[in-house]
Symmetry: C2
């Protein structure tokens, strides 16, 4: 059976197609009685508008695109959750496009895929190390927003969180509870996230009147310290570990246990992100929660602004939140 169109409704109602269109889209200049009749008939006939036809005519798709790394990380899912929720709230569809790593895939996406994408705007989610070619999107007419544009400098509006201030607050929390030999464990400092969190660490030391000791800094390659590196760090006798990623903190916790250190009695530990694992660790990990869902929602709002008003590049910052659990040793004395 063929699709029901506004032409069918028009015939049935004895009016013209444009009138049906106006009635169904809530235009004011249509008779109240006519509108009701048309709406009733539309419902009776089981009319459903054709998205393609509407898009062809209006140039809008009522759809947002999300460009994601083809890479598993709970944080990305969390961001997508925020985006999906906010999009749905605004009656927009969400199209998800995995981006394979490599410059070639990026180039192909920008030149081949992007121009034909039935999408009104694009949200970019890119891990550190994504080559810059994707930045060509900025020279496109496609409205776009980047999430966590750390070190990319894409010349596009972006959403970020308070990496530096958030980590500073967490380290300061250790300082206030008497820790003096707090080590920093993070990634290489050419990683923009590691860099910002390291500066937050320095901020906290400065504020606490604690001199910076380079021996207490561990910057493993690939964000992944080896067992040896951790052992060596523990040899410097720290009483606190400020770890720039939860995942690294988990390794550290296990290494501490293995070496016979007690957490938090001997060594306090804090992480960053609030991974789902942080809660079930022993002891549960104190960490800085990234507001991923809110960041996703904010990206949607910015994108809509950009689509409707053609706003110039800007950015939006969502605050992180210190989540105090047991690993920092301050649960009992508060």
């Amino acid at each position: 059976m063929p699709r029901v169109t506004i032409a069918d409704i028009a015939k049935e109602a004895g009016v013209s197609k444009p009138t049906v269109s106006r009635a169904l889209n809530g235009h004011p200049d249509v008779g109240a009685e006519t509108r009701e009749r048309i709406q009733r008939i539309a419902a009776d006939l089981g009319y459903a508008p054709s998205a393609s036809a509407r898009s062809l005519r209006t140039g809008r798709h009522d759809t947002l695109g999300l460009l994601m790394p083809l890479q598993q990380w709970w944080g990305y899912s969390d961001i997508q959750y925020g985006i999906a929720e906010e999009s749905a709230r605004r009656g927009l569809h969400l199209m998800v496009h995995p981006l394979r790593p490599g410059e070639r895939a990026e180039r192909e996406f920008v030149t081949q895929t992007l121009p034909t994408l039935p999408v009104d705007g694009l949200i970019l989610l890119m891990p550190e190390g994504t080559p810059r070619h994707i930045g060509a999107i900025a020279h496109t007419s496609m409205p776009s927003v980047v999430i966590d544009d750390r070190g990319h400098r894409l010349d596009l509006p972006y959403v970020e969180s308070t990496n530096r201030a958030g980590f500073r607050e967490a380290v300061l929390h250790l300082v206030r509870h008497g820790r003096r030999r707090i080590a920093f464990v993070g990634g290489q400092l050419n990683d923009a996230f590691a860099q910002e969190r390291f500066e937050g660490y320095l901020d906290a030391l400065r504020e606490g009147g604690i001199p910076y000791d380079p021996d207490l800094t561990l910057l493993p390659a690939d964000r992944e310290p080896t067992a040896d590196e951790i052992t060596e760090l523990l040899g410097t006798d720290p009483d606190g570990l400020a770890v720039a990623w939860d995942e690294i903190a988990f390794s550290a916790l296990n290494a501490l246990h293995a070496a016979g250190h007690r957490v938090p009695d001997d060594v306090a530990v804090i992480g960053f992100d609030d991974s789902p694992i942080a809660r079930v660790m022993q002891p549960p990990l104190t960490t800085v929660r990234q507001p991923f869902r809110q960041m996703g929602a904010a990206a949607v709002r910015m994108l809509l602004d950009s689509i409707e008003h053609g706003r110039p590049p800007a950015h939006f910052t969502v605050p992180t939140e210190l989540v105090i659990r047991d690993s920092c040793g301050s649960h009992e004395d508060q």
Copy 2:
């Protein structure tokens, strides 16, 4: 600047629009030289086909829809990953639709959203307890595939994994390593997953010649045992815990530690799913890996079959895989 269309190319190439269309879509009946010239001009002009116009004309969208619960779980993300990857491989777009819980939202989706969705087929991802109204999709002309249609009986093709056989294999592994008092910890048996895994547990006992002891069965409500329930179970002096979900196994591990039991020496533990957390637990959890990505990919293939050949309802089973780590106590003696 206005969009470049095939009309522009036609004018530039001195041919008619249909010729351009045929050349660009690889129809055989077009002169080799003409084709080349048209392709070159298309590239020069930066031509990009209009997805809406094509869809309007052909009735196809080259897009798959994914209906997901508005609910955070790593497994759903994993499935989406598999779907996204396979869709991309086939040149299909992926549209993600969150489904809020409740019969009303389901009804609305089926009657309002679905009919206008610019999608060629739909993959359904529904947690236990999703009311049956969504099953109305079966009476629709929309090709659909369900993932893990446990207990829904939706009369639609579905993809599943070997819950019963997989759990049986894992429990049998414990039996073979000398465990005799193996407890089952799962959800209520009206939960179809709990039911199947429980039967796998019984299968293994039977095969191992171990009589079933009801005291060794813990069926907490909501898949979430209380501390008291676990304590009581440990009072029955089990030497193994067969847990139907990793998440519950994590609670159990922590409870065991708190009660002073050693894992795996005193009590061996196995879980189900292979959550990302399983690897970082102490000790790392032996578990049954769900092939989520492959299930997603399989769903895409089934859906494509259904779209192209209108296949009748069928189903496809992907095997689980036993992942042996330390918590089952058989690493050292193998």
